[in-house]
């Protein structure tokens, strides 16, 4: 059954009370900026994710050892729960917001702390691509040190995403991802 979402200017803070059916969505059409993963492979961001179904995107930088590790810890929870349940995979993306030090090698070293499955991508858009990609995802902040934790849950078939500002439980993100309708084009 197709679930219809209403557009919203801002995201909602999921604090354990709202359900997936209540979550507003927004249309996001970022440019197909080349992104490089922790193994050094480069592909367009949208092209890379378009065939992968539901996606949960979060933002971090490798030298951050406070909230970034909490958000990656939440993604770790999603990764582990989905694997243990043997259910349909959900693609996870940790996208760097600090491209200068966050080379593929740095991403790889940071990712190793979280034993990611193959469904969990660690990406950088590089010095040229990070700002336009973040802009296309509706993410902006004055300084990397002041960025608030945020997740985008959606897919690049409908290009509709729920913006979660805060620190949800892994189960809440999984619930949002499971409500995304199957891509009609696939």
């Amino acid at each position: 059954m197709r679930v219809t979402y209403t557009l919203a200017a801002l995201g909602m803070l999921i604090c354990g009370h709202a359900t997936a059916a209540d979550a507003p969505t927004e249309l996001l059409m970022p440019p197909d900026i080349p992104v490089t993963d922790k193994e050094g492979h480069t592909e367009g961001f949208v092209t890379l994710l378009q065939q992968r179904g539901p996606v949960i995107i979060s933002f971090f930088y490798t030298s951050c050892e406070s909230l970034c590790d909490v958000t990656n810890g939440i993604l770790y929870g999603v990764d582990q729960i989905v694997m243990e349940n043997g259910s349909e995979p959900i693609t996870l993306v940790s996208l760097s917001i600090d491209p200068m030090p966050d080379t593929p090698a740095a991403l790889n070293a940071n990712a190793a702390n979280f034993s990611p499955s193959k469904e969990w991508l660690w990406l950088t858009a590089g010095m040229r691509g990070t700002d336009p990609l973040l802009d296309g995802l509706g993410v902006s902040f004055d300084s990397i040190f002041a960025h608030d934790p945020m997740f985008l849950v959606g897919d690049f078939c409908s290009f509709r995403f729920t913006r979660v500002i805060g620190l949800p439980e892994p189960a809440q993100l999984i619930e949002l991802a499971r409500e995304i309708p199957e891509c009609a084009a696939s």
């Binding site: 050892e65 406070s66 909230l67 810890g73 770790y76 200068m100 090698a105 002041a146 960025h147 189960a171």
Partner: protein, 344 residues
């Protein structure tokens, strides 16, 4: 980054056997965190208390998130916390008043002995505020690398001659509790180098080149940066990027050389004399002036840059500062290299 700063301070602190409480607080050792209501566990090594609350436990603000002070004196000031309800806060995320703590506070799984040691560590932090910093001095322990130390000494000499920061001068000392220069170098050398390299690559692009010859044994990171800048590696290119492990292969004259001063600086004079153009990226222009006075090694150049960085941090951190705050300020200061052009 912050863990390295924490390690740097730990090395500089009075030498006692490190307690399990300190290991947990500073590096997340000896515990796990529970995610998703406890169904999923992860080693706490990426969730050290100091990462959010600061190595001095005085608390921090990050974006819209406030990490409060967890010094024992502050936790117990209003009678809110004791050992029992502190345990409940750390393991269950429930404050003494029954409030559920924010999800930004991990829920730890740890043994009672480790928890008791953590409390003891928080109690010790109350007395450590002034370690390494007096009313008139900021203490730094030399690295033991003579060239690095000489460069550092030259930089802080300039800083001190200009008045220091808030009545304090940076001095090197053998006393315990000082900021460890070796660890400070380890913490910053990578990002200074990365900023320098990025500036050199940007200069190559700015000058209109689309391909570059590589001088030195470079790793994948350098090649990644070149691709990101739209530059092709070409052994016949006119522009030469000096990066990675230097090699001493002879070069054709009439080329245009780019690189960070610590790699390209030692050969810059010879290259210019041989008819080459040289573009140096310098983390601090004052370092160039100091280096020009007499030949300086790469280590000395680096020491100088570190001294200037620490001086900037001392000016930015304010009057009431701990070593932890000083180190954190230094880590947040941008490294903005300058471009110096040398022509034959």
């Amino acid at each position: 980054m912050r863990c390295k700063l924490i390690l740097m301070l730990l090395i500089g602190l009075p030498i006692h056997a490190e307690t399990p409480g300190a290991a947990l607080f500073l590096r997340g050792e000896g515990a796990e965190i529970a995610i998703g209501g406890g169904d999923v566990r992860l080693p706490a090594t990426r969730f050290a208390c100091a990462g959010c609350h600061g190595a001095d436990a005085k608390g921090r603000t990050e974006g819209g998130t406030v990490f409060p002070s967890v010094r024992w004196s502050d936790l117990t000031a209003s009678g809110a916390y004791d050992t029992k309800n502190f345990s409940r806060a750390v393991t269950e995320g429930v404050a003494p008043d029954g409030r559920i703590l924010a999800q930004s506070m991990p829920r730890f799984r740890l043994g009672p002995g480790v928890l008791a040691a953590l409390v003891d560590h928080l109690k010790t932090l109350d007395g450590n505020d002034r370690a390494g910093i007096t009313a008139t001095q900021i203490h730094v322990a030399e690295s033991g690398n003579a060239a690095l130390d000489s460069g550092f000494a030259a930089a802080i000499g300039i800083f001190n001659a200009q008045g220091g920061a808030f009545g304090r001068q940076i001095v090197t000392t053998g006393e315990r509790g000082a900021l460890d220069l070796a660890a400070f170098e380890r913490d910053h050398v990578a990002r200074i180098g990365a900023a320098c390299l990025a500036a050199a690559i940007a200069a190559i692009r700015h000058d209109g080149y689309e391909s570059v010859r590589l001088s030195g044994r470079v790793d994948d990171d350098v090649l990644y940066r070149l691709r990101g800048a739209g530059l092709l590696a070409d052994p016949e290119a006119e522009a030469v990027l000096h990066a990675g492990v230097p090699d001493v292969a002879p070069m054709t004259t009439g080329l245009v050389h780019y690189g960070c001063i610590d790699q390209l600086g030692p050969v810059a004079t010879d290259l210019v004399r041989d008819g080459n153009h040289v573009t140096l990226t310098v983390p601090d222009r004052a370092a160039l002036g100091w280096a020009a006075a007499s030949e300086r090694s790469a280590d000395a150049m680096r020491g100088f840059a570190l001294g200037m960085l620490l001086g900037r941090a001392a000016l930015s951190a304010g009057r009431k500062v701990t070593l932890a705050e000083l180190a954190e300020t230094a880590s947040m200061l941008p490294v903005i290299p300058e471009i110096v052009r040398l022509a034959p």
